[in-house]
Point group: C2
Amino acid sequence: MASLGATALARMLEIATVTNYEARDILFREGENAEYFYCVLSGYVRLFRLNKDGREADIRICGPGDTFAECLLSVGDRYLYNSQAAETITVARFELQKVRALAEQESDVAKAIIQCLSDHLRNTMDCIANDRLQTAPQRVAHYLLNNCPVEEGTSASIRLPFQKSLLAGKLGLAPEALSRAFSSLRRAGVTVRGRIIQISDISALKQI
Amino acid sequence: MASLGATALARMLEIATVTNYEARDILFREGENAEYFYCVLSGYVRLFRLNKDGREADIRICGPGDTFAECLLSVGDRYLYNSQAAETITVARFELQKVRALAEQESDVAKAIIQCLSDHLRNTMDCIANDRLQTAPQRVAHYLLNNCPVEEGTSASIRLPFQKSLLAGKLGLAPEALSRAFSSLRRAGVTVRGRIIQISDISALKQI
DNA sequence: CGTGATTTTGAGCCCGATCAAGTTGAGTGG
DNA sequence: CCACTCAACTTGATCGGGCTCAAAATCACG
């Protein structure tokens, strides 16, 4: 969005609809007719799939600034996963049809879509690699390091932007496994109190 | 590629370089300076990452028609993973710089990039969901069903296009786990002889 | 201070990784 | 055509990480 030129931006805003949802509201379900793609303005959205036993697995957690369902822009008329508000949220909604047309005319829009898809593809590939290579404590350490306000210094403090159960899903873990991972990181100088996480030795965390 | 107009196609072919590699050759490594993105013409390419112990995990297996490293088109000057020829292969190579310039001018090229990124993103998200929801036999069943020549009929036969160890990596399994998954599918009517796989009852496989 | 949701802790279990043989298979040279 | 060789695959045994279920503890909030 930020990269759009003035006219392109104006035309995108023209077709945007802002909507609010309450915690646990379903925005759309897998297989439903897809009309819109979304951009999160505030709060967090959970994208997940179900297996045939009804077990849920998170595919992605979207926060402010993130878009989702944009992979339907080129082809596809069905949503590929379920999406649910993790809390009270505000999202902007764009009709796929209109954005497709706009991308044809405004090369800025096409470029922004490419940027956005690339970023997601990167994150998603990282996610696969992490799932396949790292243990639970390593994933948590990795998450903490990626969300450290500063790269430098020995200690840091992070406030989780959402519930731990949501973080667990994001990392592909059961909530219990996340909890145990945190307690196993205590020996590496990680202290958890509610949503506040203290890291006493950043370089020690990198060794995990 | 197939969707490009005549002039766009010509300009892409103009900047393409065709190269061959032998089995196990490394095309590029994670962290190296990225100059090209690739399109597989024949054979299979393995994209993988290493953890700090040197264990490898496949992120994607690319076959004829697949492109890789295209997520570097918008930003990024380093490869994000290692790529290795799984056998004797032929690939086309495109300079990122030139394709970026071309995408600006030819909207067909931009559209093709969007298409291609969307497809990958979809596949990659599917991969995460499968990793998190399905057991080994379910993943194998899923793969077989997705690669059945026909949707209809009760029985089918598939010839794997690559080694089983490559399939194992693609599905996020150790080769031993793939082998055990196949043998556990025997009771569902799956017979394996070399690379040839016979499925006696497609609908039974869907139940797995 | 009470209530319900969230998180932590414990115990048991299962899936898949790993290591170590064995077996099959493909390609090579006699 | 057959033995040889090396790689690929299978099978067995063991191990460990993370899931599940259950219960206790903590937290958020009225």
